[in-house]
Symmetry: C2
Subunit: 507 residues, 2 copies
């Protein structure tokens, strides 16, 4: 794989100078255009020590405006980082739309180094590669331009380079014992890298292998590749915009989401099969509430001690009783170790990132309970129905969500997802009660009535959501909620069972 | 101080029930009104173990909607927290406007406990009290409603309470050895608390001492106090809005900021006294650049090793060369350990907090360099001149900023503040160059020309800013920047000197 990067290619001083003058302006111009574009540029650097990774990143920061560049490297995870799934810190530091992220070390570093030092086998390397491919596809699907440069040196060239750096008093600090130790593992390192690169070089996130021996050559390769990728992305953007404009003028009526839904199967939905007659009388409810709240409290304390985190997701119809149910849960919990996050419209910082970003950012520390009042499922519910997400966007969200939840569960987090279901008649009754009550009328808005008119569309969307995202490891719990007592106990019981199952396992 | 909280006051079951029914609705109503109000509610709880702090917080979460309540407690600082000034984590977790923050432990906990355990003396307790008072005044000045409840029990009542909790299998976990150890230090604890409370009970952030023995009594006291404070704040808001409306209709022309400025002294400003003739020729510049960049690079590595953080603040006229100067600094630094944060208009999350919040949130980890491209000084510059901040707001900002910077410096951070000064003629020349250049014209906007017309106003504002915020520990460096070479070297030299001075000190 790396043979083509050992050809000894060089660029003369004159050629370099004449090329760079134009390139710098083009890069600055591309960066300026990018600032108002609806996507970020993500550039990952990998490769052997001494092949020019940090020099190149330094140079890009000089050629462009460093104020709109986010340069990051990931060392050993900090305490707070290691309490979340491994990708949490990468998500946190992703550049916003319009920005450039340069990653001097990245999601590739740990899997490759683990393999080099024989702490993992090939199977684990391959699993990491699959996860990374998915991660990058998720970002690319959202529009991100992703480039990955592997800076290569032959073993002998690396030796020469390290010796050079060591000889210069200004750069001597860069060569410690570790660098020479790594050099001795050169073969292992390139083998692991080859395997990783071949599995993660995709059309939307390609690897470019760069011969690192000649500074001028490698700088030009990286600079022009970035320039070309950005201009290509701008051109594609323009094309898709003009295509959309001509499409809009030629189509007549009919929102695509509605059409799609009409085409779908018309059988009973998973919600239609729920037994909505279940109730719990008040006297029995009080006893059960005390029992399950007490149990949840004990389980939470045990989970905190064992550093097992919990995420409870609440979705459901308007007026299905999410707020009341959440209150019955929180009143069982030690609130110091628990956070309730209500999700309404995204803030502008959130809008400047991938839609999953705002859910990643709220993941709690080890052992804590986080309650998501509405969640990432908005993508395939309200965003789908109201057309805030285009059809390809919400369609691919099913896989994106499953992958996201996999990462939570792999990290040992207990994930419980509730859909609070009520019948249309019950909803109407509750709306009317709210309208009449001076204390509750503020809870009822025009949106609620509008959503109610789209009941069938929503029900089909919920049906598909459950079909696509209720997995063995992350199942949905559909809660019949016409009777509030029943719903509340069901929720407490389910949360307890999930926590209990998890705590019976080791680790 | 606590005698009045040992009177054995109780509330009967009947009285409680009838009171609570109304109180709950009022609290819910107040919470609903708060959600669109331009301020947060901050409630701090302190007191002895067993006096009902956590029960009360639990109850407030039941009475109101927990989704709009942020409940927090602060344990030992995490690794990332202890790498920033102590108040960083409090700022991070402050509720946004419209939200309620309940703090089960807070900025009071550490100073009181440190004193109880004799790790600090009275002088340090008093210093902490002063810092806290300032912190709370800063928040209250911004509109925050702050309430602080001290939950009290007499020594014997606490003993009874702890014994009770221990006897109940459901609450036994709450009483560990630590609680009994603390009980033995009861006198010390109340003495430290008394001293702290008496120094921090202010009109805008009063302490309410609550007799904690009777659950019903203490719940009503806390609930009604919160209700009353919120209603009072809503009334004050309404009044100030109608006052403003009538003011607006009665005044004719003349922005207050302009008038204020005319009233100010007309002597030469601190900028007028700068020697603007200083230059460095290109050949010499190259040598000096290499020298100072090399030195800065070595100092950064030493600072990282010693975990000394650096903050460089860049302010200056449009076209004064901030971008170019920052580039000369970053190209000397290891970008993995450095962040450049450009501050333009605040995001909506930032707008929902105190104006200092967004600067706190970007403080870097230990040993890192953070470059603020524009900063908190916007409050007394652009926000002042353009009227985004009212006169009382920017006036008190001088003290708020000084206090903020004190905290940075107390934490051992190196803080260097640059004002890049150019003459109006030089600015005009640069604007015209930009307008002509196809590569630079995008850098020039209508704003730039508008700001230029207000040169004198800005110059007076800079003058006052320097007079008020250039302190011995956090001096301003005014950089004559008509000659870019000179400015860049001056900036590198000053940063090096500040870092060098700091690294010569121990710690």
């Amino acid at each position: 794989m790396f043979e083509a990067a050992e050809l000894g290619r060089t660029v003369s001083k004159e050629e370099y100078r004449s090329e760079v003058a134009g390139l710098r302006w083009q890069l600055l111009d591309a960066q300026r255009q990018l600032r108002t574009a609806p996507f970020p540029l993500i550039v990952v650097f990998g490769g052997v020590d001494g092949a020019g990774k940090s020099e190149t990143v330094q140079l890009l920061n000089e050629w462009m405006d460093p104020r709109w560049i986010v340069t990051r490297a990931f060392d050993e995870p900090s305490e707070e980082e290691s309490e979340r799934p491994p990708h949490w810190r990468f998500w946190r530091d992703l550049p916003a739309r319009g920005q450039i992220g340069l990653f001097l070390s990245s999601w590739y570093s740990a899997p490759i180094l683990e393999r080099v030092h024989r702490r993992t086998g090939s199977a684990e390397l391959d699993a990491a590669a699959r996860r990374i491919s998915t991660f990058e596809r998720v970002l690319a699907d959202d529009g991100a331009v992703i480039l990955k440069f592997w800076m290569h040196l032959s073993k002998s060239a690396q030796k020469r380079r390290l010796t050079e750096l060591e000889a210069d008093p200004l750069t001597r600090w860069r060569v410690a014992k570790r660098q020479w130790k790594d050099w001795k593992l050169y073969e292992r390192f390139t083998a692991a890298a080859e395997r990783m690169i071949s599995q993660t070089s995709t059309a939307s996130a390609p690897w470019v292998i760069v011969e690192g021996a000649d500074e001028r050559y490698r700088s030009l390769v990286v600079g022009t590749t970035i320039r070309d990728a950005l201009y290509k992305a701008f051109a594609a953007l323009e094309e898709s915009q003009s295509a959309r404009n001509s499409l809009e003028t030629s189509t007549v009526g009919g929102a695509p989401s509605a059409r799609t839904l009409t085409r779908r199967k018309r059988g009973p939905t998973v919600l239609a099969r729920l037994d909505m007659s279940r109730t719990i009388p008040d006297g029995k409810f009080d006893r059960l509430l005390e029992k399950w709240q007490g149990r949840l409290n004990r389980l939470q304390r045990e989970a905190l001690r064992r550093r097992v985190s919990t995420i409870l997701v609440f979705e459901g119809w308007d007026a299905a009783g999410k707020g009341g149910a959440i209150r019955r849960v929180t009143s069982a919990l030690d609130l110091r170790e628990c956070r309730v996050i209500p999700f309404a419209a995204p803030t502008d910082e959130e809008r400047a990132h991938h839609y999953l970003w705002r859910f990643w950012r709220h993941l709690g520390r080890a052992g804590r309970v986080t309650i998501y009042d509405r969640s990432w499922y908005g993508r395939v519910l309200v965003e789908r129905i109201e057309g805030f997400a285009a059809e390809p966007e919400w369609r691919r969200a099913f896989a994106e969500i499953t992958e996201f939840e996999e990462q939570l569960i792999d990290h040992g987090i207990v994930l419980v997802k509730f859909w609070l279901h009520i019948t249309p008649a019950e909803q109407l009754k509750r709306f009317e009660e709210r309208a009449k009550s001076p204390y509750k009328s503020w809870k009822l808005g025009d949106d609620d009535w509008r959503n109610r008119e789209k009941w069938e569309e929503y029900e089909r969307a919920v049906d598909e959501m459950v079909a696509r995202t209720s997995t063995r490891r992350a199942p949905w719990t559909l809660v019949p909620s016409n009777d509030k007592n029943f719903a509340r106990i069901e929720i407490l019981r389910t949360a307890c069972k999930a926590l209990d199952d998890r705590l019976r396992r080791k680790g």
